[in-house]
């Protein structure tokens, strides 16, 4: 698919912070979407409690990173 030249990509617009500045994996759509499909199937079996824990973990991760940056700043 043709890339637009007048719009910067989302990843270009956002400067990487230190924790994400390592090698960025190439966005392989087929692989990523296949993994989401696999995740969709896994969600058939998760309990509400397990699902809440996934959301809580990723929220805590972002809060933790922001708090670390704030303290460093």
């Amino acid at each position: 698919m043709k890339k637009r030249t007048n719009v910067k990509s989302a990843t270009d617009r956002i400067p990487m912070n230190k924790s994400t500045s390592g090698a960025r994996p190439v966005f392989d759509r087929e692989r990523v979407f296949a993994e989401v499909d696999a995740s969709n199937r896994r969600f058939e079996k998760y309990t509400a409690d397990q699902r809440r824990r996934f959301a809580a973990a990723i929220r805590a991760n972002r809060l933790g990173v922001h708090e670390t940056c704030r303290v460093r700043h």
């Binding site: 637009r4 966005f27 989401v36 995740s39």
Partner: protein, 169 residues
Amino acid sequence: MRLAALDTKFLLAFAGGESDAEETFEYLRKNGFTLIVTESVLEQLGELTHSCNKTHPAHYYAMYAYWTLPRWGILEPANPYVENGTSGAHAEKIREQGLLPNATRIEAEILVEASCHRCDLLVTFSEPLLNALPGPLNLALMEGGMDAVAVAIASPKMIAERLGGMGEK
């Protein structure tokens, strides 16, 4: 305020700088939509970071997308019907009625949650959602007694075709 919900694949594609996702994002912004993600999408981003190998691009882009939602101006609103499980039960009912052939539980839930948030639009790459008959599906969405509304379901490809059509005029 007009709301549009984004699904997991769309968020990951946008985080990966895919041109169709970026064009869709610009289209939604230009047309005055406020963008949101629902609780099931957040749960799935968390699940991908938990279940995928750390070297897998889905792990990286799930984490990256979640970290950068605020910078993209994408909201993560709470909804009582999602929190108390009513929307999940309604999604299962809609699936049992055969209104979403081949859809997984989470795909149905994302749609019902978007409806509970009173979104006008759900942007998705999900074929089962895109192929569902909109009339009966929207009636079923509104029958749940959750202030839910009819939701237009569109793919980035549909939006690109709209953009192409507008460009020719």
